[in-house]
Amino acid sequence: MSDAFQQIAALNARYARCIDDGALAEWPQFFSERCLYKITTADNYKDGLEAGIIYADSRAMLVDRVSALAEANIYERHAYRHILGAPFILADGGAEARSETSFLVVRIMRDGTSEVFASGRYVDVVRFNGDLPMFAERVVVCDSSRIDTLLALPL
């Protein structure tokens, strides 16, 4: 079992736990200061269409996303449960690795309704400098092009 595999698996586990526990204020810390976080669809990804449902090229933009969700945006209270697959290491360059990880996200609404909200894969560039690996890129490729109602919490 490679070092990259173990480190990315642990990073993914922490990442999912952060969102699912509602600790969104900590979520930007999983990314490097200059980064790419994008949510798109498998169709767009396959066709090379670059737009995202969320598109951030800095950690500060992710901080703004969290503040907006907390202070400005209006949506019904809900939570996610992320179920992650094992990371597949596409390339391991020592200081940086590229990987893909499958995800399934269940959305639990205020009234208890639980539904599969999204499935897909994370296409990541993970940077290992210092103690904590971080995402230099996390492209969230949703299998479906359909988003139910709205997307508030990050995937």
């Binding site: 449902i53 500060a60 907006a68 209006i74 949506y75 359909r146 988003i147 109602t149």
Partner: protein, 420 residues
Amino acid sequence: MAGTGVSDSSTLAHRSWPREGLTRVPYWVFEAADVHAAEQQRLFEGPAWSYLCLEAELPNAGDFRTTFVGKLPVVVVRDRGGEVNAFENRCAHRGALIALENRGNVKAFSCVYHAWTYDLKGTLKGVAFKNGVKGEGGMPASFCMADHGPRRLRVATLAGLVFATLAPEAPPLREYLGDEIVARIERVLGGRTPVVLGRFTQSLPNNWKLYVENVKDSYHASILHLFFTTFGLNRLSMRGGIIVDPSGGHHVSFSAIDRAAEKDEEYSSQKLRSEHDSYQLADPTLLEGFEEFPDGVTLQILSVFPGFVLQQIQNVIAVRQILPREVDRTDLHWTYLGFAEDTPVQRAIRHKQSNLVGPAGYISLEDGCVGGFVQRGIATAEGECAVLEMGGSGAESQESRATEASVRGFWKAYRAAMGL
């Protein structure tokens, strides 16, 4: 074509609009199955023009997309002469879909069920085993292929947008839209080459008309969508207004920088105050735009009756197609646009600003849920009405955006189309 077998004239006869007229909307329009069915016949398949796709999505001969007019499945395809054609996505034989994919390129269409084939204009060209096998079976000699085919739509394009109608009596597209709406579409799309940057579908838990009302409702913008206010991003010196076309069905809501007022001293002091009172963006590059339009208009939301929206929010250009699925389910198809002429910097700006819009948009995500709040709120209120008195009772253009004139305009056009 044989008769429809649907007694259109008898449906809705028991329904009557409230006496107050355009200032009241009876909640049964969002809930009743008979209304939903009649909309398909009278409105979507009536003398209205529906958006199908972009010309840019059909660059080559044989390129096709499948979409819908209301709930009617439609194929839209460019033929070898360069014309765009649209026809019902229904085989003339037993009714199966002719094209299954969302898009593709074909020389001809062939139904998977029994291989009846169609050319790029939707004309039936071949029937498998038409003459039988070894002299047995086959179609009768009286069968004439020219008498069978899916319904064809009239197609018209404007500034790269493809529209279609089923109704021979519909006026030409430009006449349907009127000069003011045409000019406002050309202002955004004219003279350049649109490029699709991404497509997203938002599944809305409400009747399609609740979303249309939301699009036309400039009253809610600064109340429901708090992003700009929270982060102190409202520009105080804006001028704006709404344009409602004479039919009521199309509208433009816009706001523009008022350059004269920007120089005003009082404005500067107000601006400072509002900035002190609010949160700040950690990364203000989100809203770093480029001057794309010489008229200073930073927001233009344009709708075409019944279900098309063209938006310019700063440098985010998108089209939205509103399609009913069920009485209380709607598909909202977003297509984000750039232009072939964009520089890499301009393209990057569009991507960043697109955080404002779409299913996760800072100033649009609320629109995804608020229609559902209404749909749930009115669950047993078929006998009650919504109240639309903001800005009076008419449906004319106004300089204030604190009005529901364009929402009333929609109901004016809707009632005319539906005979309600």
